[in-house]
Each structure stands twice: as C-alpha cells, then as structure tokens.
Amino acid sequence: MDLLTLGFLLFCIVLVIVYYLVPKAMQWWILLAASLYFYAMSGIKNMIYVLITALSTYAATRMIQSLTDRQKEWIKANKKTTSKEERAAYKAHIQAKRRAILVAALLLNFGILCTFKYLHFLIAQVNTVISSFGASPINDTLKLIIPLGISFYTFQTMGYLVDVYWNKYPAEKNFGRVLLFVSFFPQMTQGPISNYKDLTTELFKEHTFTYHHFSWGAQRMFWGFFKKMVVANVLSAYVQDVFANYASYSGITTLIGAFMYSVQIYADFSGYMDMMCGFCEVLDIRLTENFERPYFSKSIAEYWRRWHSSLGAWFKTYIYYPMAMVKWNQKLGRWAKQKLGKTFGQTVPASVALVVVWLTTGLWHGASWAYIAWGGVNGIFIIVSLWMETVYASWKQKLGINEASWGWRAFQTIRTFILVTFIKVLPEVGTLSDGFGLWKQIFTNHTIPRSFHALLPFVDKKMPLLAVMIGTILIFVTSLIQRRQPIRQWLEDHTNYAVRVLIFAVLFIVIVYFGYPASGNGGGFMYEQF
C-alpha cells in the first residue's frame, strides 16, 4: 500500500477509530489485523515469508526457552545428587541443543533474506570468475522480487531470537504477539529496527486516547509529509539528473548535486520516520527514534550513532560485541598488546569487529561492490579515528585548539557533513567506478558556471527550488530548536492555538502544491529498497 495516497490516509483514520473503540485488551489484535492487511496489499505471496519468519522464530524461541527451563529444573532437582562435572556436562549438552536450534532458525531466516537480496549478485560474481577461465556462465533466469521489508523484519526478529538465546527475557508464548512484533506495519518497510522488550512494552500496554498524543502525533505526521513530499521528492528529480549526467556538468554543479542528495536522503528517510512515529503517537505507541540531528555530528562515528541509530544499535549488539568478545579476537588482542603496546591491545579486537560490522552494513544496504566499498570506507574512517585518538589529542593540545569553542565545533560539523556526503554518493551513482567518476568530476572539473542555468541546469522552474531551499532551512532551524526542546513543545510555548491551526493549514497546502507533481518523480521511499 502506497503511503502517499488517500487510501492509506483512510486506512489510518479507520484504524484509529476502531483501535480506540474496542476494549483495551483487544487493541493489539486490531493492530495485528491492520498490519496483516497492510502487508497483504503489497502482495499475498509476500505474506508467506513473513509467516515463515514469525512461525520459525516462535517455534525456535519456544524450544530454546523450554530447554532453558528444563535445564533449570534439572539442576534444581539434582543439585545435591550430582557432581559439579555431571552438572557441567548436562549444561553443555543442553547448550549444544539450544545452539543448534538457534543456528537452524538463523540459517533459515537469513538464508531467505540472502537468497532474495544476494543470489543475483553472487551468480554475477561467480560468472565473472568462471568466464575468466573460459567456461560458460551460469544462466540466471530467476526473477526474484524482494519481499517488502524483509531486511527490516528479519533483523528485528533475529534480534529477538538471539535475546531469548542469551536469556535476556523469556520467550513469548502467544503466537499472535510474536506475529505482531514481526509484522507491525509502521516499521515494517523502513524500520526502526526495535528491540523486542521495548516494542512489545509499547504494543501490549493499554492505550487511552488523549488529545495531547493525537495533536502531537498529527503534527509530526504533517512534518514528515512536508519533508518527504516537498523536500525529498523535488530534490529526487534534481539528484537523478546529476547522477545520470555528472560527466557533462561542472565540478561545482556536481558538488551541489551531491549535497542535494544528502538533504534528499535525510528528508526522505526521516520524513518517513516522522510520519510513522507520528501515527504511532496518535495510537499512544512510542517507536524507537532513528535520527538525532545526524548532520550536526562532529565525527563519522558520532554520525552513525545519530543516523539510522536502530540499525547501528542492532549491529553493535549482535555483531560488534560478540565479535569483539570472541575468543580468537581476544587472543589477537593479547598478542597485539604484547607486540605493539597497550593501545593496540584494545583497538585491534575492536577494529576487527568494526571491519566485520561495516562490511555487513554495506552488504545490508545493497548487493553490489559499491555498497561493500561504501561500508568499507565508513569502517576505515572509524577505525583510523580509533587508532589516532591519542595522536589527535596531542596535536590539538600542541596547536592550542579549544575543543569546546564554537569555531572548532563548526569546523568538525562541516567537515563531517562533507565527508559523509562524499561517502554517501559512492554507491548511489551506479557502479563503483561511477561513484569514483563523480568524485573525480568534483575535484578535476574547475569550470566556473556563469549563469543560474549553467550552475543548476537540472532546474526547470524556480518555485520548486525555492520551496526546497525554504524547506531545508526550516529543517535546519527545527533541528537547532530541538537541541533544547521538542519543536512541538516550542510551538505550544511560543504560539497560540489559532496560529498553530493556521500554520498546519498552510503546511497542508504547501505539501499538496509543491509535493503533488513531484510525487511522480520520487513517489517511493528510498529506504524501502533495502
């Protein structure tokens, strides 16, 4: 179901009304029905994969939980009659079974994800290798369409599975609740990737309609629509033109196109988050926040803590920490400490874990060498910052740089924004060589455009560009305000009811006027492709 349609708006209105009319104990059933309906609209066949994930996760977590409970009971019952070695052997036996179930469930679900996302890429790479030996390539005739949201719900569900394995909380006994956790529609297509405990606390508590949640949620939805339809969709047309024709544009024009892409992807993704978080707020459900003013970051590492933070948190919890703590990596760390010093003893295991995290993050975003390179470049920046931390600190001391000063923080912020922009565009232009080609164009084409049309040849009409510029300034200003308080609180403190109604009525007209014709250019959401 397309989110930017009257049909979706009607769906939301009906859902809110029914949700608050039914008895509170039934509210989550309504959410489940709505989520399954929403997903069915994208194609009944796609539901099969959601059900496989939900069923396999439910079965696996119940079995793991049952083994855990059995172990506890056995230990309790036989503590006095068995030796320590016998109890250890029993624990190891149960643990092996638990691990086997975990691995089977992970292989099944990640296997489905990898087949849909990476099969064609793998076949292409194998064909490249075997063609170089003169053999005939594998015929890739399968036309696999990636099920909607599979990257998001697979990661979210596997996180729950691993949490149960780690005994963080007991397995859910009600299959319906597990199914809702897997399929909850506001976060299914683009996240946030939520922790089971946090999300289910929100989903299954009793929700009461309050005017405050309704008005704040609606305001946030409006803001999300504005960012997506007026800023992101209009920029999409410009950015696509630049990426397709950068070779014929000047370096300055190409650079402007790259910066526009940074604004576009933020407006698109955070706009979606605002829409969905706003809608959930109307339902008295709080989703995990995914963005915290990422372009105000002072380093690449900080940027990734503020951009799509739920994905970062997932990788940190389920990839980074396990990799950092695994025995062979710890052994490597001890070796590094011995040979290279204390600093390397700490940074080498972290670096190894970071390499794995960033290569898999790149792969998660796309099945191409460009995305793998993108992940690698991000990882390199973070690892180098880690290694050079003490060196940078000594340089700053010697140069007398005051880290708290406005100038230094501004420099760091602008530097990070430029770096992040350059890294972002690498996989978006096309192939990896296209990405490098765009970088080269920026640095080597020094033509100075002499007119507006020469500077921005992709702009047909000036009014949409003006709307985008004003929209971007508004996004920047609201981000500044939100450093101290939520923008909605600021509006309530500084404006009266009538002014707020007028602001949102004007916003509605602006969204329709500037957003409608552009929605054909970038109608879908960018992160849906992942």
């Binding site: 349609t5 009257l6 049909g7 608050y20 309609f209 309050t210 005017y211 309704f214 008005s215 109604v501 007028l502 949102f504 009525a505 004007v506 509605f508 007209i509 329709v512 006027y513 409608y516 014709p517």
Partner: protein
C-alpha cells in the same frame, strides 16, 4: 470523552481554516479569465435564447464557428465543446442547456476515440474542464462526485491550488483579468504547428491504427444523449469533423468508426456525416492552411468547414440528396487520393 471532543473540535476547525485558505487562493481563478468559467457565465447570460448547439471534444471546439452557423442557418448557436470532453460530460451539458433553452438542433461530434476513450486510464482532464463549464454550485458538486474518482481528489485539489497561485502571480504582475478575449460563443481558435503536418505521406501510409476497444460507459451516455434529444424533440445530427490528410493517410481503420456511427444513426433514424469523406475536402481544407495540427482545424479551416457543414444542412433542408457529396468509405476516398504532398 473530553480528549475525544477536543480532537474532533480541532479537526473541524482545521478543516474550516483549510477550506477558507484554499478558497481564498482559488477565488481569483474562479472569477478570472479562465476559459471554462467564462464560458459558463456567457451561456448563463444567453440562457433562454439559444436554439442550436454543437457538442463534442476538441475537434468540435476548434472546428465549429458559431458566428458562421448563425449567419448561414439563421440560428442562435453555441459551441458547448471542450478538450477531452467525455460522453458523460456531453450528456450533462446538453441536459443543462436543453432544459433552459428553446433548442431545435444538436450537432454531436463523434471521432475515432469518442467510444474508445477510457476514462479510468485517461484521467480527469476533460472532467476538470466540465466542472468549469457547468453552471452553479450544486450541478458542479453533483458532477464532481459522479465523474471524479476518489484517487483523483488529490490531483484535483492540486490543480485548483495551482490555478489559483498562477492567478495570484498575474494579480501581482498586473496582468489578471476576468475577461477572456479569445472566447466566441464557445469557439476558440487554435495556433498552427507546422511540424506535425510536414510528413512524407508515402512513408507514413497506414502505419498506425486507432484503439478499437469500446469503453461501455461511452455507449451508455451516447444512448442517453439520443434519448434526451428525442424527449426534448430536438434534431440530433452526428458529425465527424475533418482530420488532416496526414492523419487520414496514417491510420488504417477509420472505416471501423464510420461504420459504428452509421449503424447508430440508422438504428435511431438520425443523420450522420463524416466530413473526412466530403468530395471537395482536399481542395477546400488543405493541410497547409486549414489545419493547425494533425487533428484540429485552424481558424481559417474552421471557417471553411463550418460553411461546408451549413451548406450540407441547407441542402438537406431544401430536400436535396446530399449523399452524393460524400465518398462511401475511406477505401473509396483513398482510391481517389494522391500521396504526393
């Protein structure tokens, strides 16, 4: 309950404010020079005096000159046509006008796409114009909900806001007016576009076909128009306006549509004229001067064609057999046609 009441109150206030703001933006468009709203005001002023109507899509809008109809036939005519006018739109407009005028004759323009134009695929453009041409708030609301699909409401709202903004820009630049100088009792002249008519006829001969899948609602509304005219005792004449020679040569299935309309005419005891088949068309309506593009007559061509049409009607009225003035089919026409420019 108070929370719920507050939410409902806020929604209502928001909708009221939005409606007032939207109306303020759109108002300049509705009272301005917009062709269709201008047209409905003019027809309202002439209401009760019109006795001859032409109704069709853009071929008729650009092809029939009411001033020549009035002069040659001694009538008080009006051209109700507009671009992309649907059969539903034609019916609603005729229903409106036949109920408030002493109409004696209706000329219904039917072309190669009058029965095949699929409203669900085409979109609401013709209906947007119709909403302007219909007079009064209630007829417009009624037509809006019967013709416009819910999925098109967003586009409609955008369309009116866009028109309003463009009028506001004209007001700011001092070029806004509420008089449309191009309007002549529903007829609007068309600008010439040379490139479309500069073709090698031998190369393009019978290389394309028009869509032949009938969209059933079009047939229903055609039957409604026929019934309406019978009920009002109004003479209904079915007409296909002339197309450029380029178009007649390029498309190979124009006989299909001619036969459809002939059957309708025969079944209902009506007259049907296909002016592509009139014998002196090539001499009187050459592509080089009579047509503005492949499908539409220019101002000069419209004058000539309207005169040709009134001559046929006058001959009919005088009891002459006008069938000899026309070829029997496109095949016969093409056997007499040269493909040299």
């Amino acid at each position: 309950m108070n929370n719920f009441k507050s939410a409902i109150r806020t929604c209502i206030i928001f909708l009221i404010v939005l409606t007032i703001l939207s109306a303020a933006i759109m108002s300049a468009f509705f009272i301005g020079e917009n062709y269709y709203y201008q047209d409905s005001r003019e027809r309202a002023e002439l209401s009760g005096t019109l006795d001859f109507f032409v109704c069709g899509a853009s071929h008729a809008m650009r092809g029939f000159r009411p001033d020549i109809l009035d002069q040659e036939l001694g009538v008080n005519s009006y051209n109700l046509s507009c671009s992309r006018q649907t059969m539903q739109g034609r019916y609603e407009l005729l229903n409106l006008e036949l109920n408030r005028n002493p109409a004696k004759t209706v000329v219904l323009e039917l072309s190669y796409d009058s029965m095949t134009r699929n409203r669900d695929e085409e979109g609401p453009e013709g209906d947007i114009y119709m909403l302007g041409k219909l007079g009064g708030f209630m007829p417009r609301i009624k037509y809006f909900f019967s013709a416009i699909r819910p999925k098109e409401y967003g586009r409609m709202y955008y369309n009116y806001i866009d028109n309003g903004v463009n009028c506001i820009k004209k007001i700011i630049h001092g070029t806004w007016t509420n008089k449309n100088t191009k309007l002549e009792k529903g007829y609007a002249a068309y600008k010439r576009d040379d490139d479309e008519l500069n073709q090698d006829l031998k190369k393009i001969y019978h290389t394309r076909s028009f869509e032949e899948t009938v969209y059933e609602p079009n047939v229903e509304y055609l039957n409604k128009i026929i019934a309406l005219c019978k009920e009002k005792n109004v003479q209904l004449i079915l007409v296909t306006t002339p197309l450029s020679k380029v178009t007649v040569c390029r498309y190979d299935n124009l006989d299909t549509f001619k036969e459809w309309y002939e059957n309708v005419a025969n079944e209902n005891g009506l007259q049907y004229y296909d002016f592509n088949l009139i014998r002196d068309k090539e001499e009187k309506l050459p592509d080089s001067s009579a047509f503005s593009d492949k499908f539409h007559l220019g101002n000069k061509g419209a004058g000539t064609f309207t005169k040709m049409f009134t001559d046929v009607l006058n001959k009919e009225a005088a009891g002459e057999d006008t069938s000899a003035l026309f070829y029997g089919s496109y095949s016969e026409l093409e056997s007499h046609m040269t493909l040299d420019k």
